[in-house]
Symmetry: C2
Subunit: 321 residues, 2 copies
């Protein structure tokens, strides 16, 4: 019988790359210490008001439970943002789960209702994509919208740090894809912390070094109810580059436990950090103000407003015709 | 029936990532043009005496046939170096094949006999590794020895450029492994051309952008006999990182034809070239002269002399005991 490394009780979980076992209690302790270490190592000390973005999935809830109480104890002001994307049979459920958790943690919940605020839903977008009215997949459009709203809400309400639950597996896929296609400006975004400025609120990813199964295990260990079924708009079988690299990582980990973690740590130090110093300077010179919403962007209108203009036109047309 | 893109005759081969078919004749033309393009794009114009390193395998023979005649026509002086590693049942065969090809191309052949020059063979090394007298695999030791001899022969005989047949699949594996383990000083060696200086002869890898199957196909198209069976010291099943990444590339290519080529091109431009400028400067300051052989190295004694000292001791001991 395998034993917990800390207390010698019967083990509950194995951390393969460290060849270490933990009981449930000490796995929780290990996980929370790891998340805190990432946060305190990478995030600037100058923040006060922190906005957690929570979807109801394993990653964002693992992040909320492992980090928010500690931040409150350390004196930070912490709130939670949930975006109701208007996905039928999914968003209401997610909203209920998130509300329950945020209340039980005694935190403030901000619900941003996409339909109420902007008059459209992700279901509307999915319908338009299905009818070839956009030439990007719905997940990509949804990503633009969510990132825009995170920043907008934080900006309008004076939060100085946004934290998101990106896990290591996603990050590995994105980094490999950006390396392969040569998108250096995308590559340098994959850091545990990006400082803010010029209307962009600083962002932290405290689960940067956490495999997705660690996050899932933490929610199990803590008995945290999460949404387990995938978003109805997610493709059944993904054929993209990011998804292929994520699949490869799962296979690689079997023979080389911890390889993804090693890759992400080393690429961050040796490639992303040196490159981002050079590219960051170039980017700052190129920022413009969106003439529609007034937020800073790299194009005018900004990516969000371009999507909104298009979906508004499509909706008007379908109502009048 | 698929047709050749150039002449409309029946196709002989498909280039998957370009979705293009060629007849045998035009595949040869395509291949030779590609190799020449890599050579002329990356290699400095200042070279005159070129040394091809040829093992008898598909890569080095594809390189020799596709590039050497062109270089001779362009006025370069071209010779071929074959190292007889003293591998029983393998080296004699390779030596015969290489001799035949080099003669048929009318080039000068330099045979370097490891046993005659230094008194030991790769079989001796393999025996020592098997008996745990070295803590590195024999392939790694053999690599050190070959690179040392390439440089030594070129240096002593006034060649100013060494060309080797490294293919894209190997390069992908090595780059991914170096990225993962954070070995930046290894990473920056993976370029199609490294300029020389301070006793190091310049090196070119004109097959840097060629998949190994392209090289094999070229030797088939040209009816070039190559050694097909693997070196007897190669492990039956490889478990290393480089080998895992090479396997992954084969799988990735099925869904994303040309992905390895795209990766290598972009990582070269966006990561290796910028990084090598910074790291190169540091390295130059650290060079020393090996007190045994007098060649420049990063340690004293150099890696080659350390292997030689050790194998000499082992051999003396086993003769006297």
């Amino acid at each position: 019988m395998a034993k917990c490394r800390v207390c010698d009780r019967e083990a509950w979980v194995k951390i393969p790359w460290a060849n270490t076992w933990f009981c449930r209690e000490h796995f929780i302790e290990y996980f929370e210490r790891k998340v805190w270490r990432t946060f305190s190592k990478y995030v600037s000390r100058n923040h006060e008001k922190i906005l957690f973005t929570v979807s109801g999935g394993k990653d964002s809830l693992a992040l909320l439970y492992s980090l928010a109480p500690r931040l409150v104890r350390e004196g930070y002001s912490v709130s939670v943002l949930f975006i109701d994307l208007g996905i039928r049979g999914y968003s209401e459920h997610a909203r209920g789960i998130v509300k329950e958790h945020v209340e039980s943690l005694g935190l403030e919940l901000i619900v941003f209702d996409l339909k109420k605020e902007y008059g459209f839903t992700i279901d509307d977008l999915a319908f338009a994509v299905y009818n070839h009215l956009f030439n990007r997949p719905v997940c990509s459009l949804c990503g633009v919208i969510k990132r825009y709203i995170y920043n907008l809400v934080a900006y309008k309400r004076d939060y100085d740090l946004i934290v998101t639950g990106h896990n290591l597996n996603d990050t590995y896929g994105f980094i490999m894809s950006a390396l392969t296609t040569g998108q250096v400006s995308e590559l340098i975004k994959f850091k545990p912390y990006i400082s803010g400025g010029e209307g962009f609120i600083a962002k932290a990813k405290p689960l940067f070094f956490n495999y997705e199964y660690e996050n899932r295990l933490y929610t199990i260990a803590k008995d945290v109810k999460v949404i387990l079924h995938p978003c109805p708009h997610a493709p059944r079988e993904e054929h993209g580059l990011v998804s292929s690299y994520k699949k490869q990582l799962r296979i690689l980990e079997k023979n080389h436990p911890g390889i993804g973690l090693m890759f992400v740590k080393n690429i961050l130090r040796n490639v992303i950090e040196p490159l981002s110093k050079v590219v960051q300077e170039k980017r700052e010179r190129k920022l413009v103000k969106c003439s529609i919403c007034g937020m800073p962007a790299s194009t005018d209108p900004c990516s969000f407003c371009r999507i909104k203009i298009k979906i508004d036109k499509i909706k008007t047309k379908s109502y009048t015709s």
